[in-house]
Amino acid sequence: MEDVISVLITTIRVSTPLILACLAGLYSERSGIVDIGLEGKLLGSAFGAAVVASLTGNVWLGLLAGIGVSMMFSAIHGLASINFRGNQIISGVALNFLASGLTVFLGSAWFGRGGNTPALSGDGRFYGIELPFARELAGVPVIGPIYSGLLSGHTILTYLAFLAVPFTAWVLWRTRFGLRLRAVGENPKALDTAGMSVTVLRYKALAITAVLVGMGGAYLSTAQAASFSREMSSGRGYIALAALIFAKWKPWPALGACLLFGFLEAMQYRLQGVELPLIGAVPTQAMQALPYILTILLLAGFVGRAIAPKAAGQPYVKER
């Protein structure tokens, strides 16, 4: 039982950046902008957050910096896709490389540790938060381990990530903004002819994306780890995208998909060095490759008929 709880706790922890990145992608894609660049934004925000947290000793400033970095990336992506009507996929890929190169380049130049930032401590990190009465309930059978062990003790970013799911559902279906957002991803002309600006709406969506993925990146370097290391996003941005497609661009299924991947990663740590019957010790490389293999299986198995927002990936051009 303890083992199960332990794995579940890890699952929640490692799912956090995925959920944030996935929801970030949801806003973008629902508005019609394909965002392959989630990976680069995660990496860039992680870097920004770690650098500022390290320099100022204040993790909240770090978080703001992380969001700031992804805002900049989103702005470039927006410029390329919306204003210059460029290819959104190329833009995303380019931004990923940019993040890859710049983070290590600047990191080495500024801190001289081969791309890593100094270790964060004290106020420079996020720590687990104890939920009210967690200590008192710890001993109670069943509820205790679940409340005090599993649910309590996560960082603020984790709680925000999980709350963001119902919030996103509410925004999408119960607010004016959500209605317009969904419309612009399906048929931007419908909005343009009704007098609304497609450009402004898409930029707003990109801004929300930036905030969420900025939080995700900051989580990586200030909560999950205590510094930035090169390529620390390890493909999570792409996995989040696959989860989004798998979830058919809906918030609650997205949560489920992200938890699934998180669970896989948790099992990866759990099974390291463990001898399984018949197979023996599972090679680390096999465990490492699992999330990526699963992503491919998801895309191969289920996505064939998923219907993306109709206008996704196409620059909006007023026709002649």
């Binding site: 210059f84 710049l102 792409y238 996505v303």
Partner: protein, 368 residues
């Protein structure tokens, strides 16, 4: 408004690349170094003497293969981001054959090595191609995933299977000298001590071959049709699924030639992580070169210069690392690929102003 072709094909790309470099230069300034000086050192390092030139050509060879791979796929509307992993797996094919025929003269071994590299790398690219064709899985994500899987898989194979007992570093056994792809220095003394080898000639042949393939074969015509309009391709009786799979395989096979240049040539053995970013450079090269062999060739040369010059720079300006090159790469892709329209308006404006009084034959004819 239609601009003359040379603007589209030459002027805009040159402007876009220049912009990328200017920004790169700004980043160099931020870390406290002099960009002009950096460029001078780089150019000297790349061309200044036979040693530098040989290395430049060696890098260029790799980038030609990687760039052609992306370019071919691009003509079909496909984004092959998996060059890195495909080249890596191609290395497996190269080393297996090279070791198996150990002792065979390169004149006989080389064709076998080429075929094996092409097959292995082609297969690694075929899988995402198949998934896109038959299951609709987006090839961008699947090829990237295949990169990660290749890293893990090859790591296991090299360190657990191929590594000989007596060696400490993660690499395979060495290929016999007589089997290795010969260095050009054997015929051109100026290039001694450089890793540029016969693969360079293969690369130039590949440039010509791809040109013929895309514009002078029926397959190329079908590929371009699909790339522009998949529905029209279906109308014309072309099988999109078959085209996608074959194109990805060809694309993979092309980047697999990197294994011929490196594993069977320069390194003489399969080294962990040997591809070291070549696949990604290929993407930049393809976009900068507008997916045309001439452009790809020139862009590959430019990046070869960047890489070799960069090595030189690393001695004198340690602050500028390999990652700087990656950054410039990214900026090149961004400006020539995604933001290529950014400079279009200003250029159009200039042309419109110049052309104001001329009657337009196209507009007049259109009335019929």
């Amino acid at each position: 408004m239609p601009l003359p072709r040379w603007v589209d094909v030459i002027l805009l790309p040159v402007l876009n690349v220049t912009l990328a470099f200017i920004i790169g230069g700004i980043v160099v300034l931020i870390v406290g170094e002099n960009p002009i000086e950096a460029v001078r050192i780089m150019l000297y390092g790349a061309f200044g003497y036979g040693y530098g030139f040989g290395f430049t050509l060696y890098y260029t060879t790799n980038f030609i293969f990687a760039g052609l791979a992306v370019a071919v796929a691009f003509h079909g509307g496909l984004f092959n981001i998996g060059g890195e992993g495909q080249a890596y797996v191609g290395g497996l094919g190269a080393i297996l054959v090279a070791l198996a025929v150990g002792g065979l003269h390169w004149a006989f071994a080389l064709p076998l090595i080429i075929i094996a590299s092409a097959l292995f790398a082609g297969a690694w690219a075929f899988i995402p191609g198949y998934l896109q064709a038959k299951r609709g899985s987006h090839v961008v994500i699947t090829t990237i995933m295949m990169n990660f899987i290749a890293t893990s898989m090859m790591s296991y194979i090299i360190s657990r299977i191929l590594k000989p007992e007596n060696i400490n570093s993660d690499e395979s056994a060495r290929i016999a000298d007589v089997t290795r792809v010969p260095f050009l220095s054997e015929w051109i003394p100026l290039l001694r001590n450089t890793p540029v080898n016969i693969s360079f000639i293969l690369a130039v042949l590949a440039l010509i071959g791809v040109y013929i393939l895309i514009w002078h074969t029926k397959f190329g015509y079908a590929l371009r049709t699909m790339g522009h309009n998949g529905t029209a391709a279906r109308y014309a009786g072309m099988s999109n699924a078959r085209l996608i799979m074959v194109t990805m395989a060809i694309s993979g096979a092309l980047v697999g030639m990197v294994a011929v240049n490196d594993t069977a040539g320069a390194h003489g053995r399969l080294i962990l992580g040997y591809v070291a970013g070549t696949g990604f450079v290929g993407i930049a090269v393809a976009f900068m070169g507008k997916a045309h062999p001439i452009g790809v060739g020139l862009s590959a040369l430019l990046f070869g210069v960047l890489y070799q010059g960069g090595q030189e720079l690393a001695f004198t300006m340690p602050a500028i690392t390999r990652e700087m090159i990656v950054t410039i790469q990214a900026l090149v892709i961004l400006f020539t690929g995604a933001m290529s329209n950014m400079l279009r308006r200003p250029v159009e404006f200039v042309f419109l102003a110049a052309r104001q009084k001329e009657p337009d034959p196209v507009a007049q004819e259109k009335g019929a």
